[in-house]
Amino acid sequence: MNYPVWYLPTIGGGTLIALIAIGHVFVAHFAVGGGLLLALSEQLARGRNDAGLLAFNRRFARFFVLLTLVYGSLTGVGIWFVISLVQPGGTSLLIHQFVFAWAAEWVFFLVEIVAISVYLYSFDRMAPAVHQAVAWIYFGAAWCSLFIINGIISFMLTSGSWTTDRSFWSAFFNPGFWPSLAFRTLIAIILAGLFALLFCSFSKDRSLRRRLVRYGCGMVLPALLGAVPAAGWYLHSLPEPARELVGGGSPTIVRALHWGGSGAIVLTLILLFSLWQPARHNRALAGLALAAALVLMGSFEWIREAARRPFVVQQAMFCNGIATAQLPQLQQGFLPAARWSRVRQVAADPLAAGRELFKFQCYSCHTLDGINNDLRQRTDALSQEALAGYIGGLHKARYFMPPFAGNDGERQALAAFLTGGLFPAFEGPADTQGKTLQDQFLFEQNCTLCHSTELVRNRTAGWTKNRIRSALDHLNRLHPAMPDYKGTPNEKDRLADYILRLNQPAAQQPAKGVTP
């Protein structure tokens, strides 16, 4: 709210970040592990006087430079550009908090550029020992870059004692620092080995290919094995609410966990097969292994980002850029305090006010009619009243959602904007708390945002009222991602009646919600 919002409602800032970040994290980790691979393979080639392996090393170095130095480094700058456009408040916090960490990382990046360029252009010109030393310097600098970036990224998820002491060192060596560093280092080694396996599958020298498959698998399998406890350690370091999200509290995270697990299994099977039958290792297998690693890596990054919600920096700033400390003041009225809002009062133009509220509070994660996390799809079946009620308590129903920062009138304006942008009955601020809650309204407010009416009807087909009523007492037992319903016993009774009626021929046809 301190900054303007670059507003592309059908695309969404999150999509733009993901587009750049997915490729970057993959290549950036490869840039670290690849350095180790270059140093080790040259050492091995020279030690065993293996001309084929040395020639491979040389070709691999060129591919490595083209991928990491160009695509890797520029997408790294790209992430910085895009987060400063989409999350300027969070970016500013990270830049100011860690300015000298970023600066030190820049120095290591400079060393990387010089080292890898010298390495590439000095094959056969340098004494072997010096050339190998150059590779080790590259790897050392690349790992130090990872060390620093890891401190900053893990801080966003586990800010630790920084929230109270504001010390640079508490922030950098936060509770997630070491497990995350271990996990990322292992991922870097895995990716380097997999790229080498892919690269060597193009070689026509069968004997070299077999040797490389052995070396590659020997590098990736132990790292993959080590990544499992490292991931557990990382999970253990998460703050309690984030751990609950990963443990089943968030359906999207659970889905990502399944994807990641599948990726790891496919990868392990391919590697074991290649180790058993190195002669049958081919491009398709190598490509599939790399794709599986991409799924594994992508899931990990997705989970990390998702588990951080509702914060962009744990306990300090919500993902929509609102500082946690500002919240109480903003709940008195958001628009008058939002310097970049077109509208300062709801009454002046409720439709425009709703749009501004969406832009400043929802757009950082949601799109409107877009492909990524479309909010319209979830809300257009709801009534304004039901949605306004839900918005008021959305952070309680869903831990990963930031609380709405605004007064009742603003809540109504946002609800009106999201329920179709038409609110003929809207006559300024209204308080839903005092109104009689109708059965359908109860259903919309509590169920429709996540479940379509059809889904609820199908799931409860044949259920008795008692069963429905009992389920409403323990929703969390139906699915770990379902928050328990906190309504009064009377409300639960009415809701149970309403759900029961859904399966009767003359059932009332309420709103059509969506399935998450």
Partner: protein, 354 residues
């Protein structure tokens, strides 16, 4: 104060350290960026020549281009870092207002970088397509500083930011700014000139191995450098006169610091022109570096003068934490030593190879 200006975050050390670092890394960035842009133009020009020496020079120059790109980007990152720490509330805002263009810089740079590697690694095989590729790279490299100039001028004018209320999709440029075009021309002319000087300097490395090449590079490079630098005597005053009157008068005498910087720069420019026309490569280079630093300092002064009604650096809240600065300095010294060793080994290897 303009109500649209966001509140800045506190800084960990006194602003002077950060400004000194910004000036240092931006001067270096500018030097490499000038070499990159100008050398690309020279390499493109050489494609039109059919003589062997021109062809050889173009080959040598094209080998340097990807490296120049790498250093330009790297140093640019550092400059943007310190700029964000000192002027983040202005810079993030203007970047968002032109977000769609600003983010486009990344794909433009990726394209240019890959094209430069393509030219380098496939120089002979590319044949006539080299011309096309290099022309494309030059166009991209001209577009990127234009977007930078837009952002760097838009951030100085909070009064223009209200355009956001009618256009929030990140497509606001600062085209109506009178200073934009002369400022951009000033940068581009300098870059093309420095490309000439870089050509001459690179040629100088071949004095003993290929004297003909060295002479050709010197003649071409220094001619380009001297004439384009002379042209700055026209563009510079144009830029100066495009500035708002109070700022112009400050540079022309009212502000001792700005006037000192300008007069020093003019004295260095005069000496530089004499040496450039006499084709003295190393002396020109030795004069160009302090001239560039003066210009960068004058630019920083101009930025603070533009923002003075809204903000001065001493308004930034300092929450002191000096130990990370100390660690950075140690890393910088250690990194510089490593780079020194790497360059020494590379030079030694290249010499042995001759």
């Amino acid at each position: 104060m303009n109500p649209l200006i966001p509140l800045p975050d506190p800084i960990p050390v006194a602003w002077g350290y950060l400004l000194a670092l910004l000036l240092l890394v931006f001067s270096l960035h500018l030097l490499f960026m000038n070499c990159l842009l100008g050398t690309t133009a020279v390499t493109l020009y050489l494609q039109r020549r059919s003589d062997a020496v021109a062809n050889r020079l173009a080959t040598e120059l094209s080998r340097a281009l990807p490296l120049l790109m790498a250093f330009t980007v790297n140093l640019g990152i550092a400059a943007l870092l310190f700029l964000q720490v000192l002027y983040g509330q202005f810079f993030y805002t203007s970047s968002i207002l032109m977000g769609s263009y600003w983010l486009a810089i990344i794909p433009l740079l990726i394209l240019a970088y890959y094209a430069l590697y393509w030219v380098d690694l496939r120089y002979r095989r590319l044949g006539r397509q080299r011309w096309l590729l290099l022309a494309g790279v030059l166009a991209l490299l001209l577009a990127v500083p234009f977007l930078f100039s837009n952002n760097m001028t838009l951030m100085l004018h909070p009064q223009r930011w209200s355009g956001y209320f009618d256009q929030d999709n990140g497509t606001l440029l600062n085209l109506a700014d009178l200073t934009l075009w002369p400022r951009y021309a000033h940068f581009i002319a300098a870059a093309l000139a420095v490309g000439g000087l870089f050509t001459a300097t690179l040629g100088r490395c071949y004095r003993s191995r290929a004297p003909e090449l060295a002479a050709y590079a010197r003649n071409l490079g220094m001619t380009l450098f001297s004439r384009l630098t002379l042209l700055q005597l026209l563009i510079g005053p144009l830029f100066l006169f495009s500035l708002p009157q109070p700022l112009r008068w400050q540079i022309l005498g009212d502000s001792p610091l700005a006037t000192l910087l300008l007069t020093t720069a003019l004295a260095l420019l005069a000496a530089l022109l004499v040496n450039a026309f006499q084709q003295r490569v190393l002396t020109s280079l030795a004069l160009l570096v302090p001239l560039g630093c003066c210009m960068v300092a004058l630019r920083a002064w101009l930025r603070s003068a533009f923002l003075q009604p809204h903000f001065t650096l001493d308004q930034l809240q300092v929450v002191p934490q000096y130990s990370p600065l100390l660690v950075f300095v140690i890393v910088l010294l250690f990194g510089s030593a490593l780079i020194g060793w790497l360059l020494y080994q590379a030079t030694r290897a290249a010499r042995q190879d001759m």
